[in-house]
């Protein structure tokens, strides 16, 4: 709390209230009003999140800005919020992305504008809740509630195959969540509370830990997504509207990795160690195999979707090598991926809005007609392939360093992503942007307007800033990551 204001609650509920206000504007007659309220709400949402960063004490591990209120006393559930160095960045990333999504959908979305904007605002608040909840049931409520707006976003404003994608997305993620619920109830009966921090101290037998780990694994692996439960992602990404893809890639994928850090590792440390080989194998398959899959895509959005899976493989790899630099690298990679993949999807969105095609083959020589756009796209493509100086490099490098500490061959396999990443991203870039003007449609393209320039420029600043000077990002999470690793190192067996 700062000055008696429950800051974290404000960060959660302000976007939700703004979302309800947007809904209240009604039909498309008031579309402009809806857009304005959405923009103001999302920008305010970001502004109220800034004091969390400025007021955060980086030297302290533990949770800060905590709020604790009894909620469902019958089951000892509390409305318990807090942030540490890990969740802080994810909250900021989320609050940062929401205004961009609102701006990106400003003109493009023409039907049911209010519902579209409201869905994103409400989701933004809910995702903040996921990152801040310190009570397992509160976490679960936010976690599942997140599905409803996303389901609607994909299904209503998505591409031709949207219904299939929306239902697949929903059922896939629900499957994981339900098993997690069983694990949470089990932990509740063991410890008598739903406080996540209490679970950290709860001794558990190996068998129990393994079952809990697996239940959490299904929930989080589906969200990350890890190979082989990743198949919902390309469908959802391709069919979602641009804003939906951005939020999916930048935010939704992070909640899975965050879950590993917040739940799996500290609650079941022995099982995490025992199963780390399994997790690392899956991560490497994602990095290498999915990287190769990305190479052969002919659809730009699908290519970026597969590249996301491959990058997220890096994140899970960093988490399960259990050293400080690897874990921090994983978190930096999450933030960076949030910026870069969001930017990539926005770039594809810019092209799609003009030609209504996502096929690489329909483009060629775009640089001739859209030089400014080509420059931005270049920067983000470089970041996506991990070029030094961009944010993409910092995280990958740290994870590779961490992997090197654990095992040389691990680092060797992981580093292959630098090759594959460059190959699929730059090859796509070359085919779309360079060369002669491919067809009459391309020759009629107009360069980006000021609205598009605005969101691409903001992201470019973020990507470059984080790439050139990643220290503040890493510094703030130091204490929290050390705390986490301490928990992971302590056996809970008796």
């Amino acid at each position: 709390m700062i000055l008696g204001i429950p800051l974290l609650s404000l960060v959660i509920w302000l976007p939700i209230v703004a979302g309800v206000a947007v809904l209240a504007t009604g039909g498309d007659r008031n579309a402009n009003l809806a857009r304005m309220i959405a923009l103001v709400g999302s920008v305010l949402g970001f502004i109220v999140a800034i004091p969390i960063y400025t007021g955060f004490n980086a030297l302290q591990g533990g949770m800060q800005f905590t709020e604790l209120q009894p909620w469902v006393e019958r089951f000892h559930v509390n409305y318990h919020l807090g942030v540490d160095g890990i969740s802080l960045w994810l909250v900021l990333l989320n609050c940062f992305t929401t205004p961009l999504v609102v701006i990106a959908g400003w003109k493009v979305i023409e039907k049911k504008v209010a519902q579209y904007m409201a869905a994103f605002l409400i989701m933004s608040g809910i995702v903040n809740g996921v990152f801040m909840a310190l009570d397992a049931l509160l976490f679960y409520v936010f976690w599942e509630a997140m599905l409803i707006p996303m389901f609607i976003i994909i299904g209503v404003w998505g591409g031709p195959n949207r219904v299939y994608a929306a239902i697949k997305f929903f059922l896939y993620t629900l499957l994981g969540s339900l098993l997690m619920l069983v694990a949470l109830i089990y932990l509740y009966h063991q410890s008598g509370s739903f406080s996540i921090l209490d679970y950290y101290k709860l001794p558990l037998s190996m068998a129990a830990q393994v079952l809990i780990f697996l239940a959490f694994f299904v929930a989080f692996a589906v969200k990350v997504p890890m190979w082989p439960v990743h198949t919902w992602l390309p469908d959802a990404h391709v069919e979602a509207p641009t804003g939906g893809s951005v939020v999916l890639a930048a935010i939704m994928l992070k909640v899975g990795a965050y879950g590993f850090l917040r739940f799996s590792l500290p609650i079941a440390p022995d099982a995490s160690h025992a199963l780390s080989g399994f997790m690392i194998t899956l991560s490497l398959i994602a990095v290498v195999y999915i990287g190769l899959v990305a190479l052969v895509q002919s659809d730009m959005k699908k290519l970026i979707a597969y590249s996301s899976i491959s990058h997220m493989g890096f994140v899970t790899l960093g988490i399960f090598i259990f050293n400080a630099i690897g874990t921090e690298g994983a978190i930096v990679q999450m933030i960076s991926h949030g910026l870069v993949s969001g930017a990539m999807f926005l770039c594809v969105g810019v092209l799609y809005d003009r030609l209504h095609s996502r096929q690489i083959a329909d483009y060629g020589g775009v640089a001739n007609k859209m030089p400014m756009f080509a420059a931005f796209f270049m920067l983000f493509s470089m970041a996506n392939s991990g070029l030094p100086g961009t944010s993409g490099f910092a995280g990958e490098f740290m994870v590779i360093l961490g992997a090197m500490k654990a095992n040389f061959w691990l680092a060797f396999a992981a580093a292959s992503t630098l090759v594959f990443g460059a190959a699929y991203t730059l090859w796509m870039y070359k085919r779309v942007i360079f060369g002669a003007v491919a067809n009459s449609h391309v020759s009629e393209l107009m360069d980006i307007n000021s609205r598009e320039f605005l969101f691409l420029a903001i992201l470019a600043v973020g990507v470059l800033g984080m790439g050139l000077y990643p220290l503040p990002v890493a510094n703030i999470m130091h204490a929290s990551v050390n705390d986490l690793l301490l928990h992971v190192a302590q056996s809970k067996l008796q």
């Binding site: 629900l174 339900l178 069983v182």
Partner: protein, 484 residues
């Protein structure tokens, strides 16, 4: 032999309702208005007065009267108020529906009240005889209500089916009760309990009796494998009556199950909870899987009811106070969700058009965003997705079952609820993702429209703040069953 006048105050709501009913029956003869607005108002007013009497009467103490055949405690008060609320709401929802289908006769209202009276007796019964009396009063009124639409052969068939199978179930139940009577020598639930506790009752006869009682209860709840009547009756009956059958009687049936199994047969919890396990798993499996294949929303909701009953049994079979209060919470929430679901079907229907195909919901968001949103909340609540209250209902029974050691049952339950979420999602999909096929405006009474909105928003509000209702359930079960 001395005759002492029994204490009448605990039964005051029933006595009042019977008196009010007789008045309404006579007054209705003189109502000339084809819409029978006076009858409607009187019915609602008597329900309200009943609610006031019940709440004033509730003291938190367990009071027995009529020589222990009748009990009044906090659980009966809460469930009775639940029943009044259900009937009150459904009469508002169905007013327009019955007017446009020539069902709007005095009988609809009086039969509703007779069924309500039966449910009240069931809820307060403390003897096998009283239980049976209440059950039959309720069932006979419902059979007649299903058959109210005389010229519809579907409704007549449904009524026939309901009657034959209902009578069979009653027979099974009576047979089981006679076994229990034979083994314990009493119809009074408290004495049955004492006889079993003392160990003098023959266990073989007891278990034999339990099998029949559970089968009979299974029929009444609509649990698999005794569920065959549910889809046909739900489908065939006029929607207003379907709503009636689907909502309030489940509250009464819950009280019934709890009185017999948890009240009288608590020492044999091991025996009956095994039987309920099978019923629960089968109900969740068949209910959820079969619901996917339905094209008629009334049939879909019928199968959904079957699966909800499976979840309800999950709470009861936990066999402890925690489980019973979770089940009570579940059944109250279930009744609210069903009211909303069928209420929406009725809201969308108009003269000559039933709106009972799931395709009739296509594009509802384009036609009426508010109603689509209400239905969305109801569907997500039925699927058990937070932040709607359906999640807490499922959560509380799951934690009770897990607490009593039924781990695999719980895993099965969550997997079936995953399967189940598909058909609820499909309704949302039709409403939001598809283009409308009908353009006719939705005509509805303002009161029904507003109440339905409140019904839907309640799903969200109760989901955000579930504590008070949960505490109420826990407290009432605690005070009624603390002896065990």
């Amino acid at each position: 032999m001395n005759f002492t006048m029994p204490e009448l105050t605990p039964a005051l709501p029933e006595i009042f309702l019977l008196a009010a009913l007789s008045v309404i029956l006579i007054v209705d003869l003189f109502v000339a208005d084809p819409k029978r607005f006076a009858t409607f108002l009187l019915t609602q007013a008597s329900l309200l007065v009943c609610a006031i009497i019940t709440i004033m009467n509730a003291s938190g103490k367990v009071v027995h009267t009529f020589d222990n055949m009748y009990v009044s405690d906090m659980m009966t008060a809460v469930l009775k108020v639940g029943v009044y609320v259900c009937v009150f709401m459904l009469l508002i929802y169905s007013r327009r529906y019955i007017e446009s289908r020539e069902l709007c006769k005095g009988e609809f209202y009086t039969l509703s009240l007779f069924a309500t009276l039966g449910m009240m007796v069931m809820i307060s019964a403390n003897s096998f005889l009283t239980l049976y009396l209440g059950l039959e009063l309720m069932s006979l009124s419902l059979y007649a209500m299903v058959a109210l639409q005389r010229d519809s052969h579907v409704a007549t068939e449904a009524a026939m089916k309901y009657f034959v199978l209902g009578a069979l179930a009653s027979g099974l139940l009576l047979y089981g009760m006679s076994m229990l009577y034979g083994a314990t020598g009493s119809l009074d639930i408290n004495r049955v309990l004492e006889a079993i506790k003392s160990g003098q009752a023959n266990p073989d006869v007891l278990v034999f009796g339990i099998v029949f009682v559970v089968a009979g209860l299974g029929f009444k709840l609509g649990a698999v494998p005794f569920h065959m009547w549910v889809p046909d009756v739900y489908h065939g009956a006029p929607t207003a009556v379907t709503l009636f059958i689907g909502s309030a009687p489940k509250l009464a049936a819950f009280a019934f199950v709890l009185r017999i199994l948890s009240g009288g047969l608590q020492p044999l919890v091991h025996d009956w909870s095994q039987m309920l396990e099978i019923l629960a798993v089968l109900s969740m499996a068949i209910g959820n899987i079969t619901a996917i294949a339905q094209a008629n929303i009334k049939r879909m909701l019928a199968y959904s009811t079957i699966s909800h009953m499976g979840f309800l049994l999950l709470g009861i079979l936990s066999g402890n106070v925690n489980g019973y209060s979770s089940a009570m919470f579940y059944v109250l929430i279930y009744a609210l969700m069903t009211l909303g679901g069928f209420g929406m079907v009725m809201l969308m229907s108009r003269e000559g058009f039933e709106a009972d195909k799931i395709d009739d919901f296509k594009g509802l968001n384009a036609r009426s965003p508010w109603n689509a949103f209400v239905m969305l909340l109801l569907m997500f609540s039925m699927a058990g997705i937070p932040p709607t209250v359906g999640f807490y209902a499922k959560f509380s029974v799951l934690q009770a079952a897990l607490n009593s050691g039924h781990v695999w049952l719980v895993v099965a339950a969550v997997l079936f609820s995953l399967i189940g979420s598909f058909y609820y999602l499909r309704i949302v999909k039709l409403m939001y993702f598809d283009a409308p096929i009908i353009d006719a405006p939705i005509i509805a009474n303002q009161d029904a429209r507003i109440l339905l909105g409140i019904n839907g928003i309640a799903m969200l509000l109760l989901g955000i703040l579930p504590q008070s209702l949960m505490a109420l359930c826990a407290q009432s079960i605690q005070s009624s069953f603390s002896g065990f």
